[in-house]
């Protein structure tokens, strides 16, 4: 079964080579950072988490988003998802792997990472995050491979794996909830201190994860001649569309609470993200995230409209565009604005901005490439096995 990854056309090998090159560059950049310290990044005393932790947060969402592809098939016996359920599980594996790499990249003393296990601290949310992320990785590796190898051998997956499949469903919710709790339990960071943070995380995850899968599915339809089917696509459109709408509804709730209550602490970060914020001690306006955040909202709303229209017009190109728009919109929202915005203003109400360095961006690109490398190999396997088993079915 694993040997399937060794057979591919020129496009396949070219893509893998490209990813390996970026991974190499990322590794070199990480060595630079490892030798110099995290000062090689743009993070500072005031903005202590940067693009690593924001990518981590976003990718936990992508991993959790796999749930929306797994749940209908296993819990509701929704047969049309037969071709994408495994893709969802394997997407979660790649996403969690990226999350763990981003966490390691962000540690000041990565060699001491095991201290989290050697000195377990149940009052820290990071302790639970460690458990749920590694647990989710384990569950998806187990369920994904058992189900796939059963299919490879032409049998139904064994019953003993069912409990693990059922556990993995609430577990997906837990990974993103705990990740939200990392932020929303901190006093004095008003932007994060909101009870709708976990729900909003889940809503954007359930849109972004399936949106990414949809784009990959449409690419595979062209390059690998692997079609997930119209029914599955229609269902995915519904899921992505409504999850994205719920995310914007929750964002609207945040905006209402901030501006109607008129409490400065609740407005500062929203001001910073969408309009820019003036540092009162220096009089300087800070607004480097404003174009991104405005684009995010515009792209998100446009994406939702196009998503529903694309189904009426049966246009795959439009469907792909709308999913890319939604994915990028939520990447900006959570992968940039949420984490970076939370640090503005500082606890002393100064405004300090963050700009990532080349080293940092290269490491980030390297991690993403590693994730896509894992994803490509896994999907290669799924497609080959699915095609074999379906061919066998046709003959018999």
């Amino acid at each position: 079964m694993v040997d399937k990854v060794l057979k591919g056309n020129g496009l396949y090998w070219g893509w893998l080579t490209l990813l390996l090159m970026v991974m190499g560059a990322g590794a070199v950049a990480y060595l630079v950072q490892f030798n110099y310290g995290l000062g090689a990044t743009g993070m500072s005393r005031d903005v202590t988490w940067g693009i690593y932790i924001s990518q981590f947060t976003f990718l936990v969402g992508v991993a959790a988003g796999g749930l929306m592809l797994v749940l209908p098939y296993y819990l509701h016996d929704y047969k049309s998802f037969g071709r994408i359920t495994l893709l969802g599980e394997f997407m979660a594996i790649a996403a969690v792997a990226m999350c763990l790499m981003f966490i390691i990249a962000d540690l000041g003393q990565p060699m001491r990472a095991m201290n989290v296990i050697l000195h377990p601290t149940p009052n820290s949310m990071l302790f639970y995050d460690m458990i749920v992320l590694n647990g989710y990785l384990f569950l998806n590796v187990l369920c994904g491979f058992v189900v796939l190898s059963s299919e490879y051998r032409g049998v139904k997956y064994p019953n003993w794996v069912k409990p693990f499949i059922y556990i993995s469903i609430p577990w997906a919710i837990s990974i993103h909830t705990v990740t939200a709790f990392l932020y929303c339990g901190l006093p004095g960071r008003h932007f994060w201190l909101t009870a709708v943070l976990a729900p909003r995380f889940l809503a954007s995850a359930f849109a972004a994860g399936p949106a990414l899968l949809m784009v990959i599915a449409l690419i595979m339809k062209r390059t690998a001649n692997f079609d997930v089917g119209e029914t599955a696509k229609n269902k995915l459109v519904t899921i992505i569309g409504y999850a994205a709408i719920i995310n914007f509804f929750l964002l609207g709730c945040e905006v209402f609470v901030g501006y109607y209550s008129n409490i400065p602490g609740h407005m500062h970060t929203l001001d910073y993200l969408f309009f820019g914020l003036v540092d009162h001690s220096t009089g300087v306006m800070h607004n480097n995230l404003v174009p991104f955040m405005r684009a995010s909202v515009a792209m998100g709303i446009l994406g939702i409209c196009m998503l529903f229209i694309s189904r009426r017009q049966k246009s795959d190109a439009m469907l792909a565009t709308s999913c890319i728009l939604i994915f990028v919109a939520f990447w900006i929202d959570k992968g940039l604005g949420l984490v970076l915005g939370g640090f503005v203003p500082t606890p002393m109400e100064h405004v300090v901005e963050y700009t990532p360095t080349v080293v940092e961006l290269t490491v980030t690109a390297g991690v993403w490439s590693t994730g896509f490398f894992i994803l490509t190999l896994l999907y290669k396997m799924v497609v080959a096995v699915k095609r074999d088993s379906e061919a066998t079915l046709k003959i018999s």
Partner: protein, 277 residues
């Protein structure tokens, strides 16, 4: 105080649930909680009325007026602290490490800041340092217990255990924590970041968080923190250090006599640093 009250309520609840008449037990618990509870409201939404029920809790009163009238005194306190503790100077805000420093009133007390402040308050430079909270969010957030409260209530750092995740820095509502973004033992243009290395206190390695420790290494020997000693050399009573749980300590006496404020009391962190404005 809270503890005994909670115990009493639990006890009362239990006896009621069991359907047993509670006068004997109840009155006993009430009697034991009565002397501790005199005249103080229950802890709601922060403020000055919280205490650790037992043991020592070191705290500090800073008389900002005395610092205001003696320009340069705050800087002296900072220098004596940073010199002794090998706090490096990077000359840029991004890598900056500081244990004690000054800020304007509006920045130290954003929640107390208001329209039309008087000239004195507006021009004040106020010392800021770790608040050594009784309920510290940084300790709650740390995934390895590398930051912890010692027996005297000071929030401490274990530089050898810290993994550098900086969760504590996100958790601290006072911006009191610094991170070693690069090695503090290095130098730039031939100038070391630690100007004069003090062999009596360890320098840190890159990738760990550091902060004020309320000079736990000194207070264990019965001495006052360096900044307090330095401040009082300049003006007697500019800083008062002592055990907040001991009603007869200087710091408790000062707190009874003078009106003080704390930084962001509404967050429930229960800071041990008090300010006379």
């Amino acid at each position: 105080m809270d503890n005994t009250r909670r115990k009493f309520l639990k006890l009362a609840g239990l006896t009621a649930a069991a359907g047993v008449a509670a006068p004997v037990l109840g009155s006993k618990a009430l009697a034991s909680s009565a002397p501790a509870a005199h005249g103080e409201p229950a802890a709601h939404g922060g403020g000055h009325h919280e205490e650790a029920p037992t043991g020592v809790r070191h705290g500090l009163v800073i008389d900002t007026g005395k610092f205001h009238d003696n320009p340069g005194l705050a800087e002296k306190c900072q220098k004596v602290c940073h010199d002794y503790h090998n706090v490096p100077k990077f000359n840029n805000g991004k890598d900056e490490i500081k244990w004690i420093w000054t800020e304007k009133f509006a920045n130290v007390f954003p929640e107390h800041s208001h329209y039309k402040k008087d000239d004195r308050i507006s021009s004040m430079n106020i010392l800021a340092l770790c608040n050594h909270c009784d309920s510290p969010p940084c300790v709650r957030a740390c995934p390895t217990k590398a930051t912890f409260k010692n027996k005297e209530g000071a929030v401490m750092m274990d530089f050898h255990r810290c993994i550098g995740c900086r969760f504590c820095m996100a958790a601290c509502p006072y911006g009191a924590r610094s991170f070693n973004w690069r090695s503090p033992r290095g130098s730039e243009d031939g100038k070391p970041f630690i100007e004069k290395y003090n062999p009596l206190f360890p320098s840190r390695m890159r990738g760990v968080v550091e902060k004020c420790s309320l000079c736990a290494w000194r207070t264990k020997q019965g001495k006052e923190p360096l900044c307090v000693e330095e401040a009082n050399k300049g003006v007697e009573g500019a800083m008062v250090f002592g055990d907040l749980n001991d009603p007869n300590s200087d710091v408790s006496m000062t707190l009874r006599k003078r009106f003080t404020i704390q930084r962001k009391p509404s967050l429930g962190t229960k800071p041990s640093i008090f300010y006379i404005i």
